[in-house]
């Protein structure tokens, strides 16, 4: 029998072993004093790959991109103090969008905690409201168990980011390793995944008897796994009902399918929003009635019976009172619904459904995403349509930054599969897209990964060009350059009398030279007629590329439900906006 000292290893080695046992392949991080023991352990092994970013926020976004495109838990490693505080934006982003992450933060040694030591921050205090859960590991004997528990918490139920704060002495002290328990039996955290059978029956009844039904599905379907998207598609096909997706849900149902009426919400399609308003049964699966979706709450889908399936009980009845709340996993609920539908073979009122589709098709006929492409200036919508044309037959992934370009990307790029669309939906983090694209590319080295960006957003994490160069990550940054923080400009135009306060992108870099400086390739395009060639060239280049597309500076993103307005009250184009000023209640909303 071995003596304990012989089997015992340092906390840092235990940590690395635990990560490997949790099937981690990649860690996105940045070293510093407090995490040096972990970096030393990483140095001595070759199972875990470490990707060195240039800013901790980017490490988190990269891990988010990795997680969202693979369905696995993303892992981040940062040092104490500024390392941890820089990660906060990314953690909040992951919390809002339910992305499973484990973020390891260094901490000063336990005897110095609370002494205002060098690079000390109250990391668990700071990250408490922006994580699903966090831990401060005070002793090495709790380390491996805590890591396994953190992975369980991050990926189960409604996924989210989990921080493990690791004092340096804990990383250096020795202890035996504890392997993960399978299956995990957490003492208090046991999310409900199996929906109540009676409620599924009630749901089926409501769904089958609807005259004007509407599926409204979100990121919960994607988080449930690829199978859930298949089941959703199957169930929607079985019913013949229309479906809309939230921003986070795009790809869970094929965008080219004729039952898909487009994204809903503030910049959603006319047909999706009107169908939401007029439907009589609303089937929400894995979406959370976010304010960007509902618009004016008092007039949100006022005639419908509402079913809400969500794995997070706190998402139900938070903003909108529903008639049938069902707590459970989206995929599991869909499986149960399909089984019951097959068993019961309910008779859908086909006449009513036909009339409902006729109504929807009339709204579709408005062609709400129409724009006029002239000869001289590239319209951003046109740029994205052409981009989609050239990538649609390739294995591709899209990330975005935040703003107008993000909404246009959601409107004009079509997502046929889940996990192909990475965007900061809840927090709306400018600077998300590029590092997220790096994470996606790490996970899918052969795929075409494109960050659709604005010239303002891309500047927020532009330093990551260095990461792209170091790992030869052939990410394509497709900048729709209108020389404005476009969405800010749009709101200033609509709400603040056209006073474009600080929204002009002054002193922009020469993106072609910038790319060159980082060892990437830069392309520029001004003319509509050259756009196709530019996009083809971008795709053909093996390494990272920045494409600077000069687009119409004044173009606004339509349709738009002005804040505080109801679904039927959409602005469809520039001609609409003067007629309907935004209400005072609307002005205070974000």
């Amino acid at each position: 029998m071995k003596k304990p000292e012989e089997t015992a290893t340092t906390g840092a080695d235990l940590l690395v072993k635990a990560l490997i046992d949790e099937e981690v392949e990649v860690v996105f991080g940045y070293p510093g004093g407090a995490v040096l023991p972990i970096y030393d352990s990483l140095f001595k092994q070759n199972k875990l790959r470490h990707i060195l970013v240039r800013h901790e926020q980017a490490a988190v976004h990269a891990a988010e991109g990795y997680a969202r495109s693979t369905g696995k838990v993303g892992v981040v490693l940062v040092t104490s103090g500024p390392g941890a505080t820089n990660a906060v934006t990314g953690l909040t982003d992951a919390l809002m969008d339910s992305i499973p992450l484990v973020c390891l933060t260094g901490q000063v040694p336990t005897h110095l905690i609370g002494n205002d030591a060098f690079q000390e921050a109250d990391t668990t205090g700071i990250t408490r409201p922006c994580t699903k859960h966090n831990y401060l590991v005070k002793s090495v004997d709790a380390l491996s168990r805590t890591v396994h528990e953190a992975f369980y918490v991050a990926r189960s139920g409604r996924p989210g980011p989990v921080v493990i704060d690791l004092p340096k002495d804990v990383l250096m002290n020795k202890h035996d390793y504890t392997a993960p328990d399978m299956p995990v039996q957490h003492k208090s955290y046991r999310p409900v995944t199996k929906p109540d059978a009676k409620k599924i029956e009630q749901a089926l009844e409501l769904i089958a008897n609807a005259k004007k039904p509407m599926f409204y599905t979100g990121g919960g379907v994607i988080n449930s796994g690829a199978r859930a998207s298949k089941l959703l598609t199957q169930f929607v096909h079985m019913t013949g009902y229309p479906i809309t997706n939230t921003l986070m849900g795009l790809g869970s149902f094929p965008a080219s399918d004729k039952q898909f009426v487009g994204m809903l919400g503030m910049h959603g399609t006319y047909e999706a929003n009107l169908a939401m308003y007029h439907c009589d049964v609303l089937i929400n699966i894995g979406a959370r009635f976010d304010d960007r979706i509902t618009g004016k709450l008092a007039e949100f889908s006022p005639h419908s019976k509402k079913i809400h399936i969500d794995i997070d009980g706190s998402s139900i009845n938070k903003n909108v009172r529903v008639d049938l709340p069902i707590v459970g996993d989206a995929g599991q609920a869909l499986e149960d619904l399909i089984k019951l539908w097959k068993a019961r073979q309910p008779k859908v009122d086909q006449k009513a459904l036909k009339a409902w589709w006729a109504e929807i098709d009339k709204w579709r006929g408005r062609d709400c995403l129409a724009y006029k492409q002239g000869k001289d200036v590239i319209k951003p919508q046109f740029a994205l349509e052409r981009l989609y044309h050239h990538i649609k037959d390739r294995d591709h992934y899209i990330t975005t930054e935040v703003g107008q370009h993000q909404m246009w990307a959601a409107q004009f790029l079509k997502f046929e599969q889940p996990n192909r669309w990475m965007t900061s939906g809840g927090l709306g983090t400018m600077g998300y897209g590029f590092p997220a694209a790096l994470g996606v590319q790490i996970a899918h080295p052969e795929a075409l990964v494109i960050d659709v960006a604005g010239e303002a957003s891309i500047m927020m994490n532009i330093q990551e060009l260095s990461t792209a160069a170091q790992y030869r990550l052939p990410v394509k940054i497709f900048i729709l350059n209108n020389q404005y923080m476009g969405m800010v400009r749009q709101w200033q135009e609509l709400l603040h009398g056209g006073r474009y306060s600080e929204s002009y992108s002054e002193a922009l870099p020469d993106f072609v030279k910038l790319a060159d400086a980082f060892g990437a390739k830069g392309l520029r395009c001004h003319e509509p007629s050259k756009l196709d060639d530019t996009i083809k060239e971008m795709i053909a280049i093996k390494g990272p590329v920045i494409v600077d597309v000069a687009v119409d500076k004044a173009e606004n993103c339509f349709p738009m439900i002005p804040s505080g307005a109801a679904h039927y009250d959409m602005l469809l184009g520039p001609e609409d906006r003067a007629a309907r000023p935004v209400s005072e209640e609307g002005m205070v909303l974000v």
């Binding site: 205090g125 408490r128 699903k132 957490h186 208090s188 997070d312 009980g313 706190s314 009845n317 009172r321």
Partner: protein, 167 residues
């Protein structure tokens, strides 16, 4: 319009560092009220604490508060005692009163009526311990107001369901 009402919620949690901050942070971060809060370990073997929170809100808000509490990882159980049927609420207060002569005698008489115990005395002061429902404690404190009240410490409410069921 839904009307706001007061709810007493009992929460069973792991007794670990930061748990109170998690609960209190949830209330402050989401803009909920805390009218009263008590917390102490109640099960040493399993290292569990019981938190009793009195909060107020519309039914939708109270439902939301419970759902938010329930999804905290170290939370085992959340019970809305106000909704779940008859329950008992008790509070303890220490009330310090200073005075001589008739005021002192009156304070002692009232304490007797309220079944408050004298737990400290000097020739010119008392510390009373009074337990009961919050309104009883409140009334006692108010009565002492004119009899030389110096200071009050209150525990906040602890509560339990009637009958043999847990919670």
């Amino acid at each position: 319009m839904e009307v706001a009402s007061s709810h007493t919620i009992a929460v069973l949690v792991d007794n670990e560092p930061g748990i109170l901050a998690r609960v209190v942070g949830l209330f402050s971060g989401r803009g909920y009220n805390i009218e009263s809060l008590t917390v102490a370990q109640t099960n040493a073997k399993q290292n569990l604490s019981r938190i009793t929170i009195v909060t107020a809100g519309t039914p939708m808000v109270v439902e939301q508060i419970k759902a938010q509490l329930d999804r905290l990882v170290p939370v085992h159980k959340v019970h809305d005692l106000t909704l779940e049927g008859p329950h008992i609420e008790r509070e303890l207060a220490l009330v310090k009163v200073k005075g001589v002569g008739e005021k002192r005698a009156e304070a002692l008489r009232l304490a007797d009526i309220f079944r408050a115990k004298v737990i400290d005395t000097k020739t010119d002061s008392f510390v009373f311990e009074v337990t009961g429902a919050s309104d009883k404690v409140q009334t006692f404190v108010e009565l002492m107001g004119s009899l030389g009240l110096v200071d009050v410490g209150r525990t906040g409410i602890v509560a339990m369901t009637r009958g043999g069921e847990a919670f």
